[in-house]
Structure formats: C-alpha cells, structure tokens
C-alpha cells in the first residue's frame, strides 16, 4: 500500500488515439499530451434524493454517472494543431483543436502509475471539449483547459 508519487514525471500520462489500442499508455503511436499542469478524472455518480414519511433521513438512488477527464496544459503546437507527419493516429495528425472542432470521437487512457508492465490505468472514449487557450503578458505562454466528455464508462486496465 503506497501513495502514487508522480514527481518522476512519467506517472500521470494522458494518451489519446483514434482506436482503443492506440490510446493505451504503452502504445508508441499514442498521442501523449505533454506539459500538463494538472489532470483530474471525474467519475461522478448521479444521485437523486427523496424524502419518505417514515424516515428522518433522506433516501437516495443512483442515476447514470457523468464521467469526465479534465486538465490544464501548456499548448504544444504539434499537439494542438496537429502533426501531418504522423500517419498512424488521426488524433495526432489532426491535433486537439481540429479533433474538437470536428467533434470526432477519440479513445483515451489515463495512466496513474506510468506505462510499465502491471501499471494501472483508466480508459474510455469520448469527445474533446472545453478548449480555451489563453495567453497574456503576465502569463506569456499559451495555456488551455481541456475536457474529455466521456461517452460511457471508465474501464480499469493494466499495461
């Protein structure tokens, strides 16, 4: 039992691809998002509460989860606008902006422990949303929030 230390720089990895296999953490053709400042997996089960006459506490039942992956990252030009030299992963070829703009479904994985054998990750599919690149003279590099609106469940897997 131990906390997962991410200071080595190779633990928290978000990988994107146009197929589930491409998006696996150890796939060399996967598009790993660089320069992430933070990464959040939001697996939020919906809950509806109701009151009954014979109980002093509220009752509850669950509704479908809203799953998202959110992050903030410094904008890398190849990753954001695409790299025509990449031919085996259309997400990398087109870049985050075009993929979001075209509302293309992507596959993703969030590695918690890196990409070595037996390392755990969560995967799924969804749509890139929430791009809002910002720059100013106080913050002189482009930074953008990025959201993956997950279509369906997260799936736990190991490398």
């Amino acid at each position: 039992m131990a906390v997962i230390n991410v200071t080595a720089g190779s633990q928290a990895i978000l990988t994107l691809g146009n197929t589930a296999v491409l998006a696996e953490p150890d796939n060399a053709s996967g598009l790993q998002i660089p320069f992430m400042q933070d990464l959040t997996v939001n697996a939020s089960a919906g809950v509806t509460r109701y009151k009954v006459l014979d109980s002093s506490s509220e009752k509850a039942f669950t509704t479908p989860s809203t799953n998202q992956v959110t992050l903030n990252a410094l904008v890398d030009d190849d990753v954001f606008f695409g790299n025509a030299g990449v031919t085996d992963n259309s997400v990398a070829t087109n870049g985050l902006f075009a993929t979001s703009n075209n509302k293309t479904k992507i596959f993703f994985s969030v590695a918690f422990e890196g990409s070595d054998s037996t390392d755990v990750y969560l995967s799924g599919e969804g749509f890139i949303s929430g791009l809002a690149p910002t720059a100013s003279m106080d913050q002189a590099v482009w930074i953008s929030p990025i959201t993956i609106e997950v279509d369906g469940d997260f799936t736990q897997g190991t490398v």
């Binding site: 991410v6 080595a8 720089g9 190779s10 633990q11 928290a12 990895i13 790993q32 660089p34 320069f35 992430m36 400042q37 933070d38 990464l39 990252a73 410094l74 003279m137 002189a140 590099v141 930074i143």
Partner: protein, 134 residues
C-alpha cells in the same frame, strides 16, 4: 555574446551623444573601485554600467517535468554629478538613461528605476534595469 548590459551601455551612449551640451559620457569600464573610491565617483558625469546579474525562475511546472523557466536579469548603472551645482540638463539625462531600457526586445517585463544618494558634495544616481525573458 552581447549581454543586456552591453546593449544598455551602447544605447545610453547613443542617447547621450545627441545631447547638445553637458559633457556626459559612457565608460566601457565596469564600475569597480580604485583606491577605495568607485570609478563613477572619481569620474563625474560618466555613466558606468555593471555586468548582468542573472537568475532563473521556474514559471510553470508540468506533470512530465517539462518546466518553463524565465530568466530575470538585473543591470545596474551609476552616474555621479556635483550635488551643489547639478547640470541643468540632469533631468533629461536621467530620462534618457532610464529610457535606454527600450532597446531590449522580446522580453516579458522591462522596467527601469532610479534612486539617488547624496554623499559629501556629490550625488550618485543608481539606475536599475529589470528584464524578464522566457
């Protein structure tokens, strides 16, 4: 390699050269001390520009250790004049020296400030240029 101090020294030189009077000049020497006395005190109305003092500051940390750093450079210049009989154009000279910061391009922050200190019968103006580049 041309340092920021070199650029500022050259710019101050060219700006002072357009003054019709005054006899102000810029020295290529560093403002070191000779016989216990700084050169700018010994040589009045001569601007001395010190070397760059640099520091690297981490601006952004990222999960893949792809950090972004800024280089903060401080350059100090000195000018001493007679305190009792200050040159009539001293305000113009101070403005010209402060505005020499404009020669620095591609920087996130470019600032210049001046402070003065009177000692015995002379006043020393210390100019500080602060430049931040990514």
């Amino acid at each position: 390699m041309t340092t920021i101090a070199d650029q500022i020294r050259t710019e101050v030189q060219s700006r002072l050269a357009i003054l019709p009077v005054g006899g102000f000049k810029v020295s290529d020497e560093l403002p070191f001390t000779a016989s216990g006395e700084p050169l700018y005190v010994k040589n009045k109305k001569t601007v001395y520009v010190d070397d760059d003092v640099e520091g690297r500051v981490q601006l952004y940390r990222t999960l893949d250790q792809g950090s972004v750093y800024a280089t903060e450079t401080t350059v100090t210049a000195y000018l001493t004049v007679d305190a009792k009989n200050q040159p009539g154009i001293i305000d113009t000279v101070i403005t010209l020296i402060l505005d020499a910061k404009d020669v620095i391009t591609g920087a996130q922050i470019v600032e210049s400030t001046v402070t003065s200190e009177i000692e015995e019968d002379y006043v020393t103006y210390s100019f500080e240029y602060n430049i931040t580049k990514l």
